[in-house]
Symmetry: C2
Subunit: 915 residues, 2 copies
């Protein structure tokens, strides 16, 4: 039975975990000889890798023996001033002895030296974030024993060289570049092309220089005692949990900071023992497309990280079938077993040591949104999982990928290179060559990050870019894995391009592309295209995508609506499954080019008469807008919010006018100056120090009821006219920024009066309702009173977040980023609803409102309406609907289904509450 | 037993009342012949006047018989489409019959016509707001009967003239001016100086013209049927409850709109029957000074409103002692009985009809703050009331009057006139002659409103003015009564001044004072002084004021602190009884002239070094500030808030820079322009669209911990140095604008680190605590978490009101006034704490915070800390202290005592709650 994946709600998790944390219980879980102390479900304690090794061992798969030091030890380590307790140290020592017995080897033995790998393994897979040390146990003595026993001195010294390098970097914190420098120098002086071209003598020399480097940088010799090596490595793994890049990854993936990592100590097996050895990574299905095919890559005579690090471009597994057919067959069978066992697509690592297969890791495979949908649907058809399981298998946010545009094939395309289709979708942007540059340039337009290979240090740049292109690395390279996780287009391993970082350019097919030049990427085919290719929207209505969403619709309780202001957006929304419009912002209609002049005339009017004349000009335009919306949304509710922003938003900018008046004055252009000055005066009158807290929302309608009346008239005239065509119209009129029930009562009065007038004029009635945005704390707190005047509530969580936190969205973007960096905020509260503060008001407002009016319809229409975690919150708070941007509608549909299924299955964590 | 006066919490009252409203019960309460159906405590049902008449009747005082139609009838009238039920109408008719019997007269009888007065009477006294009709029952027939029976045709026709005028104005809504015009014309054509100079023929002519006016304006003859007159008058009284000016008065005095008014119908007695008749108003003690003296005014041969309307300047009661010694003695005895009966100073109306005394009204007398304090203390000494009663007798807000400045007698004063000392205190301002002008001019400086007499239509102008000067009217004239209620300096009845409205000037003692000229008023002596007199603060520490506040200190539970930023303010606060500083705003220290340059240098610093250098310059200055505060507040806690406002507040204005750069550019001054431009660039960087929701409060300290560290260092160094002098220092460090507990935790870390450093350096420890402002809704909602890091909470209700309502104080002043006008807000939520929204957060924050940390100290430091109703709220919410501006400290001390006494006496109304 596959456990459901729950990734969000890190907070609640943390609390739960803290309770059952057995701080002083068993911390070492042994595996080997066909038996393991741990189990596959113990990810929290053993980490994903440790749990996988235990599960595979128990399942009888060929796993090298070893043991896992549990995450509880890591937490103890941090809480105990970075030390383990003596009991824990003893427990680990006993496990080493057991490993020595089972392997017939001993740490530091000059007969049969035990060599181990030391790897981190947290609950959630964090590719490339945690550090690994291989070949631990080697020292100046045991390297010779390895050399003798393997009958390959080159192999032994290469292992030692790698070990010192990894240990030196990870444990002793010596920059990797310093080791690389020595190694590259050695290659050059020996005229070596590939790493493997270096002979034993050269490798011995490299080892000597590595050791000298360690002595120089740490003022101590490289530690020769393998027990010391092991304890140092263990602590370094613990500490790697807290590196800046691990923190960044966790923040991006919403993994709590206090889970801690497990440490896996495992007997080494060697994929670099010669041409009959190999190491590789495989997926039980294609992680990019979801196709049911055994899929992976390997490198002959290579060790560990060589495959995923993207340094050498690996071979497809099909090659292995030819080179080692038996091993390949065994791998295929194991893959099938794994998938049947886990009921999900697996991503596993293997090593072939001298023709013998060993499994080193298995985990749920990351996949693109497209693959996730396909695999989920296929597995239902294969009866591996239920439709509900399938719904839980797709990250809702991944669905947006499927809606991303693809390259329009009808245009002539200048394809200059082709790489691996590592993450699908199309991306068009300007070329940048560093992560920092990507961040800087992204502010002024889309960028594509072009790198030889990416490393975890590039993540911020990958995040900023619309697409990623690498010259090296395979489908499982860092770039590919991370890009897929981000739902970002990526072409990897594109060896046809030559990158020159210094000149800020790359070349391919004889063309030179400089920094700032436009290119387009096709992540589904791997094509690199010169210039700005045209793209077209994908068609989400067909195939598995539509099937999955149909299942979602059956499972969910929440209604999903869209925020759409114009008929075109409403059309898109309806195509994506929106069940109505939850928010139509009428101010967008005011800003249209043909309207703005009348809007300004209305604002600048110095008599009631002029104001009414301007409003009269706007009326027919607004009416046509609403008619369009009503027609597109035939039979579905359309929530129209009356004018919300402060009026000065429709006037010329104050600063510009100030400077212009001064300029005209200095130029002696008195007439023009006086004209400008008159406008400036009105702008000054309307100027506010804090417009967000100023004269806006229903406050406009209350001081200028004629504006509300005009809008209501436009709505009701449109409704009557469309209804006359036989279309079912369900208008819902929403009064914004209510803080006191009497504001709503007054605006309601205006709306009802106009409705009665229009219905009399048109000799036709249309059912409508009047409700309000709940977007101020006071509205939520006094929801019981407000519900007396409102038939529906729509939580405007953008504004509600602003006032609850006292944070202006317009001003505090960088501050919020800084807060996330400092760990004050786990995530941007404008993206993911804060469950403790804003959420508390949503719960309170809903409950109090419903207590006063049991049939009150309650929804949400802020940005959060399309965020999966926030949708889950809304489901749990008992809301009736969420409303989000059209492209997020499928996301919300799936998230709503997952919330309902989790509720049914009792998968919710306890809600954290400050109450 | 005197009932405690409770004026605030109109909301809760309304709810309570609605419950026990006997909508269909008895509505008529008869009084007369020594017996009354009503009782003195039935103010809610009978209104103050009706209850007083019933109480006086039952006490055997000479009250003309009559009946009261209860407020429940008025509410029924409004809820029933402005009609009474037939049962009610019958009940009233029966009362009329009974009055006819007891008086031996009949409505409309040509033998003995019954004449009555019809007066309003609401629960709370509303001087001048409600309308009165005298002599009802007169018509073309009965006027002759009255003429015969009184043997004074002039009297009869003057009564009829007055009746038509009052009825025409109040019931038929014909502007008073139109009647006045006819009357003035008659006086002129008859060469009459005073009203009394008109003879019968002239009055007959006036009556004829009045009736013609009524016919012209209403297209109907003046109603001749006295029953019809009575029902019309009754309904007009009901309706007068809802006039704009009545609403304004209620809003200003926080009286709920839905109480309704009673109607008193009473047999007429006549003070205008000749020189042996009179009418007057008296107080049992002096309402201006509180002196225990029988005090009042009367007019011989006058009727009803003549005294209070201020049209003729009345005579002091001492004159009555000489003119009618027996009646005067009877009056004195009645006054003593009234005070013993009511245990409070009474304000009563009487009429002497042909040598016979009648009591027409008694009510608790309005008084100045000074008189309130003196009367309360005197009555305790006289054992009339307890100290607790005394505390409930003084409106806390009145105390501020006692702290107002008085004229400095050491300067030469050019006194140009002397009027009545109607309301004490000194006022210095520019002269205006209309209420509207007062409002307009008050925006640019203090104004003094100068009027011949004031009317209820002038209230907005009186509110805007700092002082009021009238040429006519006595100590009980409209101007005097209202000014005392407002705690505003007033000189009334200053007949020495000649006002010329048309020329916008007045003259006195040969001087002409024009609109806009400065004058000074001494409300305690009645002097009118040319120019701007110097004033000095009064001394609140001595006498009864201090005694009352000592009683208050014994009664209250809430601690009262002051908001003070500099030692001088702290000194004032301590003198007024502050028990610590609840809020020291350190930014005020930053803005001092000698600091600003360093503050700017710190902000504009482009290197850490420069910034540290600037901070180092600020450190010793801040330290001296704190030393001063600690010394003044020896032994008392001093809460210091770290820097709060956004940094751009310390830089030159963006708009100014924008214009200057443009000017310098056009003038070709490139060097200067570039300089300005550099500053502008930094200002632009710091510019925020909504600074109130921007980078301020603890957000500054988090992104620039060096600022917090500098401030903490200044505080701890100052504390250690002052403690070294043997002074007890209790610093409380307050972190502003916390929305998330982790912000507080980070800032606390900075503070604690500096504290440890300073204590080590100074080899001395000082106890301190760290707490936070609760000024954002999220802080209140997550108070349980925040209390984990805070030793105290201080509710910053200014900011909390802004974010809870989404209303910027800087921008929405006029909007709030409009909201009050429209009845959306009952009062300005920035002045009186909103109990339903903001108050809910205060309750919630306190409760959640204390649940997590039972010993959490909780206070409030917004403007509301000095508002009596808000202080009561804080008491009831269980806060530990309130902190307010120094001059409000006595107000808060008394308000806190009243809250505690009310609680003890079970006088609280149910709290309205939306929960």
């Amino acid at each position: 039975m596959a456990p459901a994946r729950i990734k969000s709600r890190p907070k609640a998790k943390r609390k739960l975990k803290a309770k059952k944390d057995p701080a002083r219980g068993k911390i070492v879980y042994f595996f080997g000889g066909g038996k393991a102390a741990g189990r596959g479900h113990m990810k929290e304690l053993l980490g994903g890798k440790g749990a996988g090794l235990a599960e595979m061992t128990n399942a009888g798969l060929p796993v090298p023996p070893g043991f896992t030091i549990a995450t509880s030890a890591c937490r103890h380590y941090f809480n105990n001033g970075n030390r383990l307790s003596p009991t824990m140290i003893q427990e680990i020592a006993r496990a080493v002895v057991r490993l020595e017995k089972i392997s017939g080897q001993q740490l530091g033995s000059t007969d049969a030296p035990l060599l181990v790998s030391v790897r981190s393994g947290a609950k959630f897979s964090m590719p490339g974030m945690m550090d690994t040390i291989l070949n631990l146990g080697l020292n100046d003595q045991t390297v010779d024993v390895l050399s003798d026993r393997s009958q390959s001195p080159r192999f032994a010294w290469d292992c030692y060289r790698r070990f010192i390098q990894m240990f030196g970097n990870v444990v002793l914190e010596i920059p990797k570049e310093e080791f690389d420098q020595i190694f590259e120098d050695a290659k050059r002086s020996h005229g070596a092309q590939a790493d493997t071209d270096l002979d034993v003598a050269a490798l011995r020399q490299v080892v000597g220089e590595y050791k000298a480097l360690v002595q120089r940088r740490t003022e101590k010799p490289f530690p020769q005692n393998p027990h010391k090596q092991l304890s140092m490595a263990r602590d370094a793994v613990f500490c790697s949990w807290n590196t800046a890049r691990a923190r960044t990854y966790r923040r991006m993936h919403k993994i709590p900071d206090d889970l801690g990592t497990a440490v896996n100590v495992q007997l080494m097996v060697f994929g670099n023992l010669g041409e009959n050895s190999a190491t590789g990574v495989a997926f039980t299905r294609n992680p990019a497309t979801g196709d049911k095919e055994f899929y992976g890559e390997f490198l002959l005579n290579a060790q560990g990280e060589d495959v995923v690090a993207g340094i050498r471009t690996p071979l497809p597994l099909s090659k292995l079938a030819r080179l080692m057919p038996k091993v390949y067959q065994k791998l295929v069978r194991i893959a099938q077993r794994l998938e049947r066992h886990y009921h999900d697509m697996q991503d596993f690592e293997f090593t072939i040591q001298d023709g013998k297969l060993f499994m080193l890791q298995t985990r749920t495979g990351k996949r693109t949104g497209c693959a996730a949908v396909k695999i989920a649907c296929d597995m239902v058809r294969e009866k591996l999982i239920s439709t509900e399981d399938a719904l839980l298998r797709v990250e809702p946010s991944q669905l947006e990928q499927l809606l991303h545009p693809i390259i329009d094939e009808s245009q002539p395309l200048e394809v200059i290179a082709k790489g691996l289709p590592a993450s699908p979708g199309a991306a068009v942007g300007r070329v940048v060559f560093t992560a920092d540059e990507a961040v800087t340039q992204a502010a002024s337009g889309p960028v594509i990050l072009v790198r030889k290979e990416t490393t975890p240090d590039d993540i911020h740049g990958m995040d900023a870019a619309v697409g990623i292109l690498t010259a090296r690395g395979g489908m499982t390279s860092h770039a590919a894995v991370v890009a897929r996780g981000m739902g970002k287009c990526c072409v990897a391993g594109c060896e046809a391009i030559q990158i020159n970082y210094e000149k800020h350019e790359f070349s391919a097919s004889g063309k030179t592309v400089r920094e700032g030049d436009w290119i387009s990427l096709d992540g589904s085919t791997g094509r690199v295209i010169l210039g700005q290719a045209k793209t077209i929207a994908s068609n989400p209505e067909s195939g598995e995508f539509a099937k999955l969403l149909r299942w979602a619709d059956q499972a969910r309780r929440l209604v999903v609506r869209a925020n759409a202001d114009i008929p075109r957006d409403a059309q898109v929304a309806r195509r994506f499954g929106a069940e109505g419009i939850g928010l139509c912002r009428t101010e967008h209609m005011f800003l249209a080019a043909d309207r703005l002049a009348h809007v300004r005339a209305m604002i600048l009017a110095d008599t009631d008469e002029k104001r009414r004349a301007a409003l009269a000009k706007l009326l027919p335009m607004q009416r046509e807008d609403f008619k369009g919306l009503f027609k597109v949304m035939a039979g579905l509710p359309v929530t129209i919010r009356l004018l919300d922003p402060p009026l000065h938003e429709f006037l010329p900018q104050r600063e510009t006018l100030l400077v212009e008046v001064e300029r005209l004055r200095s130029e002696g252009k008195t007439v023009e100056m006086e004209e400008k000055k008159a406008v400036l005066e009105r702008v000054e009158q309307l100027h506010e120090l804090n417009p967000m807290l100023g004269h806006r929302g229903c406050r406009l309608g209350i001081t200028s009821p004629e504006i509300s009346a005009m809008q209501a008239r436009a709505i009701f005239e449109a409704a009557c006219e469309v209804a006359a065509e036989g279309v079912q119209v369900i208008p819902e009129i929403m009064i914004p920024l209510v803080s006191h029930v009497r504001e709503l009562a007054l605006q309601r009065e205006v709306v009802e009066k106009v409705a009665a007038e229009v219905f009399a004029e048109k000799k036709r009635k249309v059912n409508y309702s009047v409700g309000t945005m709940i977007e101020l704390p006071r509205a939520a707190l006094t929801a019981a009173e407000i519900a007396g005047e409102a038939e529906f509530f729509s939580f405007g969580t953008n504004d509600l977040t602003q006032t609850t936190y006292g944070l202006s969205r317009d001003d505090t973007g960088p501050l919020i980023q800084e807060y996330i960096r400092l760990g004050i905020f786990k995530e941007d509260p404008f993206q993911v609803m804060d469950p403790d503060g804003v959420g508390e008001l949503v719960r309170m407002g809903t409950e109090r409102g419903r207590r006063a009016r049991p049939k009150l319809k309650v929804g949400i229409c802020g940005e959060h309406g399309g965020d999966p975690a926030s949708v889950e919150f809304c489901h749990r708070a008992g809301l009736d609907y969420v409303s989000c941007s059209p492209y997020r509608v499928p996301v919300a549909r799936l998230a709503a289904a997952q919330a309902a299924i989790k509720e049914k299955r009792g998968l919710y964590e306890q809600v954290s509450s400050t109450a």
